[in-house]
Point group: C2
Amino acid sequence: MSDDLNILILSCGTRNKIVQYFKKELNGRGLVIATDCSYLAPALYEADEQYIVPKMNDEGYLDEILSICKNNNIKAVFSLIDPELSLLAKHKQSFIDIGTVPIVSELDVIEICFDKYKMFEFLVQNGLPTVNSYIDKEQFFSDVEAGVIDYPVFVKPIKGSSSNNINKVSTKEEVEFLFSRFDNLMIQEFMDGIEYGADVYIDMISSEPVAIFIKEKVKMRAGETDKSISFKDEELVELIKKFIKGTGLKGIIDVDIFKVNGEYYISEVNPRFGGGYPHAYESGVNVPELIINNIYENVNDNVIGHYEEGVSMMKFNEVKILDPKEIAST
Amino acid sequence: MSDDLNILILSCGTRNKIVQYFKKELNGRGLVIATDCSYLAPALYEADEQYIVPKMNDEGYLDEILSICKNNNIKAVFSLIDPELSLLAKHKQSFIDIGTVPIVSELDVIEICFDKYKMFEFLVQNGLPTVNSYIDKEQFFSDVEAGVIDYPVFVKPIKGSSSNNINKVSTKEEVEFLFSRFDNLMIQEFMDGIEYGADVYIDMISSEPVAIFIKEKVKMRAGETDKSISFKDEELVELIKKFIKGTGLKGIIDVDIFKVNGEYYISEVNPRFGGGYPHAYESGVNVPELIINNIYENVNDNVIGHYEEGVSMMKFNEVKILDPKEIAST
């Protein structure tokens, strides 16, 4: 039992494919166990075992997760939702003490990733091309006057996700209106170009990026990549490597990039499995395998660019039906 | 060949489950053929045969669809997108002339369904409870003063879909702002209650509703039901039957209902397969079978209420990967 390579996926939600991929890669070497705070999370039923847990911010949550890890001899744990990444990073040592490796980036870089303005400042400070952003609307208005930036722009929450509350805005009045109505907004340049996403695995032992899968995003839905086409460009790979170096990003991350007038601009980073990761996996970029290698304390070989260009990915809905009798027994 | 029961699904998009269900029901009695204007429509590859066609508004589109019907001995055709329903209804006779039955409602009721204000007027005229709506903002303001309606309200396009551009609004200033910025808006009462969806099949021969599946919508995503729980209520069934009588609605439709303070209110109708239909099918409400019976010129038995209550449905993503070589050969 104690040699089993059991993996715990927290807040699995609707990410059935991630559970499937880990089960496939483990291939009997261990169990995939999943948690969610709702019994209506379909990925729960894809896992070998499942736990309905309290909400992340409820008292005792961390202790419950730690005890699931201990009782199930969990070798590695990761989460699929943003707010939980900070929790895992903050309490990394508590997990390591009971023999569980959290697959997660360092806390300080996670906090930067969730604050779009901090990320903007970080990229600027490091000389990396990014999307022009403002939290000071007066500074923005004066830059408009000076011809530094022009409408349209996006007005969005500094800490937002899933494209919630993003407004494309064309006048000063609209900017004023939105700022008067909501707090913690930022103004971001409208990038009229091609959008790319990169699924990157940064080895947990060597801290080097060992896999980078780039896709052109062809269609988004509810803030998630719905259709994409695999893409290769050495220049973009180098930009991503340069960005990652020394950040403390680790494990699987998802980087959003724009290309405008032939130039790449980094826009956002999600330090977890992105919603478009199935495209990478189905194209041979096998992150579960890289994670399992790391759990076995093996440094991964560099497999950057080991995929075919021009392969399309399209999402569609599958359904899980749950009988009332099954609910009672979970 | 001429006895084959071939079915054509237009603008199949990401509705793989619909294609699967028809293939399963036909069970070799005929082919399921699908069209879309994009090769990135995953449901195309689920069908027995597929056609990439021009965009619906391009010249020659209708002729191309008619010729696909003729060449493939298509017995029934339907569409999965709203704008195409009017086209099918308008040219119903051209399809019938070549031996193809369009599974579609009458043109006038389709036009009412796509205009949220016309639908409001229709429901009011017929004495059916609905969601209070305004296109005249001055009338709305004076009703607010008179205490007839109160904030918050929704401001949304009269002809919109997928929850695009819907704003929840709490002040007169915001209403004024939105009306100054966009045309063709309406103001709709905010319904603070439970939302239900009903998948209804109205027999193509008898014009009677013969199947009604009701689900409580637990979670929406991008305007589509993401999680739902099956539900039964005789009162709601009677309201739906009363609404449908004499409307000219036919075939499969999807009705949205709110329940506030114990009262039901009809809000919207989509005269096609709704995005949540898989819940009905997986619960035994087999609309492909009812359609096939109608194609064989059999009137369907009433199967209203033939399903279990309390069964949950949860959607998750499946992916279709398409190699560049496959694109070339389609």
